[in-house]
């Protein structure tokens, strides 16, 4: 294989991985900071119900 191509591929993996990691952490932090408290009973009730609709 052409070494420049391998370099391109590995560089691409690294760069895209970094972008993904960066935005992933950003989203996680945002979700943490803007967390909305929901009543856990809502989910429990929903689970007990038949859920056809």
């Amino acid at each position: 294989m052409d070494p420049t191509l391998i370099k391109l591929a590995l560089g691409g993996l690294a760069v895209l991985g970094c972008i993904g990691l960066f935005f992933g952490i950003g989203l996680a932090l945002a979700a943490h900071k803007f967390a909305v408290q929901t009543n856990p009973k809502v989910e429990e009730v929903l689970e007990i119900l038949a859920g056809a609709q």
Partner: protein, 320 residues
């Protein structure tokens, strides 16, 4: 409340300043300061330092063409150079069509006897008028729904009520601008320098869903009323093809920050206009006596075709 208003003003100012910086810092060649149209048939190039006169006076060093027609080279009649050798004016045989951006290639710029490499320069008409023409072009003349037939499933899905149509249009415009700016930034400053532009579609899809998710998360907390009003449409934005078409167009045309902002804004507002027009007709249609086989989607498609015909009247127009 006052604090948050002030904070958002700060944020907006910061965003505008950074846009200025980003728009300004992209120069195609470090030795070229500025290119501009002058009079009817001249292009002015301003260099950062003095260039050699023998190089500057040789017309073989320049190739100029309109961006859409690379094979039609414009003929240079004369070249004048200023006394300090920093400004070179190319005079052409024919008048220039300033509505098209021109590509100017200056081969082996020579400064003090040594070559500084070639420069490929974009010459564009100034500027506010050009930006405005991009906005109106994307909004009306090349309306994405009616002339390019993009985003049809969301278009037909949410144009039954006027209120939902307007809500969808506004949500869409916001997310469109945000995601297009992020995609523009990533494309210009990460994908292109690392020669990864063949991955643009994958990256853009990721960025679109990222911005939708981010708006969803933040809005849920910051403004629950608006979030309730947007409801399911926020997620539906992901399924719209306009939102992926715009970053691809930006990447294709090498737009800068302001042009990208205008194109994405125009695309969003154009979608809003299309939804509003369609929904106001469909609301009336419910009272009309439509034959049973045509009720619902079929008549909506006929309507969209009629709208597209009407929008055809705008085609080929240019502003300024």
């Amino acid at each position: 409340m006052i604090f948050s208003v002030r904070k958002s003003i700060y944020l907006t100012v910061l965003l505008i300043i950074s846009l200025f910086l980003l728009g300004g810092c992209r120069s195609e060649h470090p030795f070229v300061k500025k290119t501009a149209f002058k009079d009817a048939d001249k292009i002015l190039i301003e260099f950062a330092g003095a260039v050699d006169e023998s190089w500057a006076r040789n017309p073989a060093n320049y190739t100029v063409f309109e961006k859409p027609d690379p094979d039609i080279r414009l003929i240079i009649k004369d070249i004048s150079i200023s006394a300090d050798h920093k400004k070179v004016t190319l005079i052409f045989e024919d008048d220039l069509n300033k509505n098209q951006p021109h590509i100017l290639t200056a081969a082996n710029i020579s400064h003090g006897g040594k070559s500084l490499g070639s420069a490929i320069l974009n010459v564009k008409k100034f500027y506010l008028g050009y930006l405005f023409s991009i906005l109106i072009g994307a909004m009306i003349i090349n309306n994405f729904v009616f002339t390019k037939y993009l985003g049809l499933c969301v278009f037909f899905g949410t144009s039954q009520r006027k209120s939902t149509a307007v809500g969808m249009g506004i949500t869409f415009t916001m997310v469109m601008v945000a995601s297009a700016m992020i995609s523009w930034f990533i494309y210009q400053f990460i994908l292109q320098p690392y020669r990864l532009d063949f991955l643009q579609i994958v990256v853009f899809i990721g960025l679109v869903s990222l911005s939708v998710q981010a708006v969803d998360t933040v809005l849920r907390k910051v403004n629950p009323v608006l979030f309730k009003a947007f409801g399911v449409y926020l997620v539906l934005v992901i399924a719209n093809c306009i939102i992926i078409a715009v970053p691809l167009i930006l990447a294709d045309n090498q737009y800068n920050a302001w042009e990208s902002l205008m194109l994405s804004l125009g695309a969003g507002l154009g979608f809003l206009i299309a939804l509003f027009l369609m929904s106001s007709v469909r609301e009336r249609l419910e009272l009309a006596n439509v034959p049973p086989t045509y009720r619902g989607l079929p008549i909506a498609f006929v309507l969209a075709g009629l709208f597209a015909l009407a929008f055809l009247g705008f085609s080929g127009m240019s502003i300024f």
